[in-house]
Symmetry: C2
Subunit: 222 residues, 2 copies
Amino acid sequence: MGGETGSKRVPRAVREQQMLDAGVRAFARSGYQNASMDDIAELAGVSKPLVYLYLNSKEELFTACIRREAAALVTAVRAAVERDAPADRQLWSGLSGFFAHAAEHPEGWTLLHVQARTHGQPYAREVAAMRAEIVEFVTQLIGAAAREHALGTARARTLAGTEVSGLAHALVGAAESLADWAGDGRAGGHSAKEAAATLMNFAWAGLGNLLQGTGWSPDRVG
Amino acid sequence: MGGETGSKRVPRAVREQQMLDAGVRAFARSGYQNASMDDIAELAGVSKPLVYLYLNSKEELFTACIRREAAALVTAVRAAVERDAPADRQLWSGLSGFFAHAAEHPEGWTLLHVQARTHGQPYAREVAAMRAEIVEFVTQLIGAAAREHALGTARARTLAGTEVSGLAHALVGAAESLADWAGDGRAGGHSAKEAAATLMNFAWAGLGNLLQGTGWSPDRVG
């Protein structure tokens, strides 16, 4: 009913997103302990009682911020992947999507990667669940690539499930580390594309060899 | 003076190490908030006032635990590296040392990788400094390997400094992720050797190609 000019006319769903925007910014910048509900209300341009009315408590606001940013990250990565493309293109597109999202939402990334893990449970659990989802996604991608290669060439061997799982964990850990590296202003900053290309070169040339059955062995002369 | 039978005759340095042992165990298992000085004193087999006399406060005990474990980890990695060996052997020996140390000191690893980062500053800074030292060490190792390859073969190109830095961050992130994967009982557990071999295969076959100037490019057909 009516126009959207007065602050009271803004729909609840929109107001909530504004509060979450303010929460993500405040928590990422000041940390959970130091960010105050006063600051968050001011950043969102609403009264503090309205924040409590909509989000109940600082704990629930923090949880809601983590959930929204985690869902956005997973959605961005899934949407970026070029399905039905060759496995390396799929990985490249997924990594490009990940680094681009982290670069475009530095506060969301800091919230997930630093703040959510630095305040114990239940927040760390939320992030662990998101991470497990991404690891599973990468595991399936590598597994599919391994099967594809095994069909295509006689030399290839199928990677064991435990190897695929280990490789997926390595890749996700490397991506997290590079997202921090890219976002670190002290290091001069690196573009999302640079981070994706670095990891793709690191990972794919290695995975590519593995998939063709030519791994590294400690007995080989270096 | 005298024998070492009575608890009062144990030298201070030895007592302090026992307190740090107890602290690492208690903090890794229960988290910083939940671990009590009573528990730690009991685990160490001393009175609580003695813990306060030697370590001052829970905060200082936590810091001392982090410093000791960080120094032990860095020392273990440095000692494991086979200097003067080819670059891949150096990396392999360093990774083997890292995963073996993490597997032999699971509580120390948990303290550094989870607990020290989940309680804000100044603890997170201690771990960040240790991590920066390891990244720098890996950066130098990759840089030396790149120069070695560039001398040895006409095809090779020297990796740019920014690429070397990115690769070092990727490798360290992958190693951290795989140490958790190896230590995760729910995943069935994986040996330190398995984790080192997985990462070496992933990283070296990729790095090996990079050093020879054959990286992956998005324009190449997959």
